[in-house]
């Protein structure tokens, strides 16, 4: 209960900050006080103004009597190491002018409108308010893009859909065909496989709960452009986060980087 209060207070604070900075394009970087990896150094160029920033979406979590389950999933999982390590790869592999640090965004203010690409982790634990649902729908229909990751199995899918169906009651979630441009915009990713989280170490099993098969899903707009890219039953962020670990298999990290880069390139061209 104490942690939930902290989270609620944090959300309120960031919402107020968002309103305060609504007239500024980019909020100057400051480390968010709620992090999984506390020891990440702030890069020297963190203050540089760039075209793109890795925007991590902050959301209120689903309330459950199972405290362990509740703490298992929240918006800041893998933050900030996964974000920063992925960004390094994007810098090295593409021409994108990307910030070395992530940007935490929420659906309380219009600040998210300055970041037309956003990443949400563990959406199997999110519980959006009506105002957040409305803001997310507006964001996506205007041209924003949302990538979801790291939620597994039937229960988390159902919780994810409870909010997502309120965002788009009339739009179906579909399995993405291999021919979709998102799998070819930079890398051809016809052969995809499940990317396990670090909890699967030593990776004899790559799935969690009953999420046995990786699902590449999405929601399209009226012109056939993807607005929401849903990576279900996989943990791409862990692959980014542990890419520097000899214990984490390279093939998973490599695919995770390619997926992330393709999703960004797609969002910036469609």
């Amino acid at each position: 209960m104490q942690k939930q209060k902290i989270l609620a207070a944090t959300l309120l604070l960031t919402g107020l900050l968002g309103v305060a900075f609504a007239q500024r394009l980019r909020v100057p970087y400051s480390a968010f006080p709620f992090r999984e990896d506390e020891d990440q150094p702030v890069p020297a160029d963190a203050g540089d103004k760039t075209e793109f920033a890795f925007a991590r979406l902050q959301y209120p979590a689903w309330r459950s009597n199972d405290r362990n389950w509740s703490m298992r999933g929240m918006w800041s999982i893998d933050y900030p190491k996964a974000d920063r390590q992925f960004v390094q790869g994007v810098r090295r592999l593409t021409r994108l002018n990307i910030s070395s640090v992530e940007q935490v965004v929420n659906l309380e203010s219009d600040q998210i409108m300055n970041y037309p690409w956003a990443y949400v982790v563990e959406p199997g634990h999110w519980d959006l308010t009506d105002g957040q649902v409305k803001k997310l729908r507006e964001y996506l229909l205007k041209g924003g893009f949302l990538m979801t990751d790291d939620f597994h199995g039937t229960m988390e899918w159902d919780i994810f859909m409870l909010s997502m169906q309120r965002v788009f009651p009339d739009r179906p979630v579909v399995d993405l065909p291999n021919t979709d441009p998102i799998f070819h915009v930079l890398y051809d990713l016809d052969d995809r496989f499940q990317i396990p989280g670090i909890v699967n170490y030593p990776f004899d099993q790559t799935y969690e709960y009953d999420g046995i098969d990786a699902k590449w899903r999405g929601i399209y707009d009226d012109r056939g452009r993807l607005m929401v890219a849903i990576c279900h039953n996989m943990d791409i962020a862990d692959a980014w986060e542990w890419a520097d670990s000899p214990s984490y298999p390279e093939k998973y990290a490599s695919l995770a980087y390619r997926i992330g880069i393709n999703y960004i390139m797609y969002a910036m061209s469609h």
């Binding site: 021409r95 037309p116 924003g144």
Partner: protein, 754 residues
């Protein structure tokens, strides 16, 4: 009054030459005048010195007496004026009677045509017949002989005065024409009296005397002066029509301005009239709709007691083109501007956008490149490097791409793309654009509308607001709101840009449409210029995408801006054949000049081809006209088509070279009869006065023509003789002599010398 003192009309003195009839030498006159003045000086000096007069008084007396002696001596030499006059009954006077419809108008109850007959019947015709043979002609849409001045019907709907006068000058070459009397309201429907006509009349030494009918100014009238509409637009474009009008008697009142295409109302607006007589301009915007010919009828609703409602409507033809210009957009790195420009133009069915995005150092992502043959994809080798490939586009956007990315050949081609092909190039701001991209040292600097420097720190990721300049406020491509004032305010309220760039120094001739207002000051943001046959623009930002993300979902300002800017960039880009004529609506004139500028595949002028114009007219009529190469302008072919029937015509010009078809272009025009006669129905006195003055005639009012026969007689145009008219007995001479003597007597009395 003049004739009271001089016994001759002023024109006699203007046209005649001064002579002495005594036969005595003129030098003797001068010598005697000098001798007389000398003698008088001696006598006056002797007499007045003795009387103690001042020098001034003596000199005054001497001047008066000397002048009188000089005038008397002058009269002894028998002065006269030699003037050429037409011989009686040996010359013809051509009387041209305006028989057009406008002469049936009534001004204050009197019909112009009746007034014309009345002028002739009230003595003028009799006086003319005493001196000359009189021939009557009726002039309207053509010239024809008339038996008398009463054989008028006024049914013709055109007045081609210039054609009539030219015909008179040509057909009467063997006749002793002493002069021409043109009786008209001056409402010429063919565009006025041209220089060629005036020269033809002057060449025959034919003075044209004009008699003007009709009111020179209405008290209550609303009139369309002109309607300016683009000749061609792309389908679904926002079309701007400029309506110029003038009114009298309705200042401050309101009426309705309506634009229709057949029965369909395109748009309408309420307007308030400006001051009486002032030209007033109204801009009207509407959607051009699908491809086809729009016959735009502009109508001003008539108001109560309007004296001439016939001039409240005009028609213009607008060709909504059935083509989809191709625009190539190369972007040097992934950025939001690219995505949102693509999305804005995806909603425009009239433009095809093909994009190259440099995702990595050596990989391009191509979009929109699938043509008819799906197996053959364009741009796989990257940015075009041949004229055939590059010139297949009508417009090119260059994003944040370093100048050095383009090879020297590509840079030369880009310049030719604008200059020769007539395409449009838009340079976007960015961290590798303009000065930061090294454009100042590249060949591309020539086509930029700005002079960029060498400084590499001109791009800023800071917020910038936007404001329209005076030019931008007039630019229809920048209209988000229809009303200009509301539009300017709307621009100020647009969300700030994500970034901006210092574009450089604006080149002479370039136009700044939008300014960026930043913390660093104000700087040009959107600059355009014409270059060769094409046009270029700089939009010194990559941050307009915020207009999409930071405004309500239903707001379309971002989409409208990009769609309209793109259409501006490519709408004027011609194909290999550029067909044209002089106007879209030909009034009362069946002669339609046709012109085609023909170029080859690489847009070099093609002077050795063949061009035929296939004309489709009203009621399914069709005819082919072969155009001839213009000897002066290589690649230009001209011809003329005679469109006798009123209605709309479509002309497809087909160019071929060595038997192979190289290109086509289509234009449309409309023929109207009888419409122009309702315009300019007030008497065009200025035209009539100018015509008379340039040909040696005079302008006459109908109730003051009694001196006209005598004026015509003073002419050398026909069979004439010279006569000398005495001047010694002019009343003015007697008055001068009397005044000199009386003046001397009065002065003497005043000085006490009498």
């Amino acid at each position: 009054m003049f004739e009271l003192f001089f016994r001759q009309p002023l024109s006699v003195f203007q046209k005649g030459t001064f002579v002495f009839q005594s036969g005595w030498p003129v030098w003797l006159l001068g010598a005697l005048v000098l001798a007389g003045a000398g003698l008088l000086a001696w006598f006056v000096w002797q007499k007045t010195r003795a009387a103690g007069w001042s020098v001034l008084r003596s000199a005054t007396l001497w001047v008066l007496q000397s002048t009188m002696v000089a005038v008397l001596l002058l009269m002894l030499w028998q002065p006269g004026i030699s003037v050429a006059t037409l011989k009686k009954q040996q010359n013809v006077v051509a009387v041209l009677l305006d028989d057009s419809k406008s002469m049936a108008l009534a001004d204050g109850g009197a019909v112009r045509r009746d007034e014309m007959v009345k002028t002739l019947d009230s003595g003028l015709l009799d006086e003319l017949k005493k001196r000359f043979q009189v021939r009557f002609y009726k002039v309207s849409d053509h010239l024809e002989r008339a038996e008398n001045h009463k054989a008028l019907n006024g049914e013709k709907t055109a007045s081609r005065l210039a054609d009539g006068l030219k015909q008179i000058a040509a057909e009467t070459g063997s006749l002793p024409i002493g002069g021409v009397i043109l009786m008209t309201d001056g409402a010429d429907t063919s565009g006025g009296i041209d220089r060629e006509t005036v020269n033809a009349l002057k060449g025959r030494q034919l003075p044209v005397h004009t008699v003007g009918y009709g009111r020179e100014q209405y008290d209550r009238d609303i009139a369309l002066v002109d309607v300016q509409a683009p000749l061609r637009v792309l389908a679904d474009s926002r079309l701007g029509v400029q309506v110029i009008l003038r009114q009298r008697g309705y200042a401050g009142q309101r009426t309705k301005l309506t634009l229709k295409d057949g029965d369909k109302t395109l748009t309408s607006k309420e307007i308030t009239f400006a001051a009486d007589g002032a030209a007033q301009t109204e801009n009207v915007l509407f959607n051009a709709g699908p491809a086809g010919i729009r016959t735009v009828q502009v109508q001003l609703q008539a108001l109560a007691n309007e004296e001439n409602p016939g001039n409240n409507q005009m028609t213009r033809l607008v060709q909504v083109e059935d083509r989809k210009p191709r625009v190539l957009y190369i972007e040097g790195e992934p950025r939001w501007e690219f995505k949102f420009i693509r999305r804005a133009l995806e909603e425009d069915k009239s433009v095809q956008l093909i994009t190259i995005l440099r995702t990595t150092q050596n990989k391009n992502y191509i979009q929109g490149n699938v043509q008819g043959d799906k197996d053959k994809k364009e741009l796989e080798a990257g940015f075009p490097a041949t004229p055939e490939e590059m010139f297949s586009y009508e417009g090119i956007f260059i994003g944040t791409v370093e100048a050095s990315y383009f090879t020297p050949t590509q840079q030369t081609l880009l310049r030719a793309f604008v200059d020769r092909r007539g395409g449009g190039v838009l340079f976007l701001g960015g961290r590798a654009s303009l000065a930061d991209g090294g454009y100042g040292a590249s060949e591309l600097k020539d086509i930029l509308p700005v002079i960029v420097g060498d400084r590499r720190t001109t791009f800023f990721r800071d917020k910038a607001n936007v404001e329209l300049t005076a030019n931008g406020r007039d630019n229809l491509a920048l209209r988000i709101e229809e009303d200009p004032a509301r539009n300017a305010e709307r621009w100020k309220k647009l969300p700030f840009l994500a970034d901006f760039q210092s574009a450089g120094t604006v080149k002479p001739g370039a136009i700044v449409h939008v300014d960026a207002v930043t913390e660093r000051g104000r700087a040009p943001l959107l600059i355009t210029q014409n270059y060769g046959r094409g046009r270029t623009a700089v939009l010194a930002t990559g941050g307009t995408w915020r207009w999409q993300m930071s405004q309500p979902l239903e707001d379309k300002s971002h989409e409208m801006f990009w769609q309209q800017l793109t259409r501006w960039l490519v709408a004027g880009t011609p194909g290999t054949v550029l067909a044209s004529t002089t106007q879209t609506v030909f009034t009362d004139d069946p002669k339609i000049p046709l012109r085609a500028e023909v170029r080859g595949k690489t847009y070099e002028l093609q002077p050795d081809g063949q061009v035929e114009a296939r004309v489709s007219g009203p009621a399914g009529s069709a005819q082919t006209v072969i155009l001839s190469p213009d000897p002066v302008h290589p690649g230009v072919y001209t011809g003329e088509y005679s469109a006798e029937q009123p209605g709309s015509y479509l002309v497809e010009m087909v160019a071929s070279h060595n038997g192979e078809r190289t290109g086509t272009d289509t234009i449309a025009f409309r023929r109207e009869d009888g419409v122009a006669e309702s315009f300019h129905t007030e008497q065009n006195r200025e035209l009539l006065e100018r015509l008379a003055a340039e040909t040696g005639g005079k302008y006459w009012k109908p109730d003051n023509t009694n001196k006209l026969p005598e004026e015509i007689a003073l002419s050398e145009a026909g069979i004439s003789s010279r006569e000398i008219r005495d001047l010694w007995h002019l009343p003015i001479i007697f008055l001068v002599l009397a005044a000199l003597r009386a003046g001397e007597w009065l002065l003497r009395r005043r000085w006490g010398a009498v």
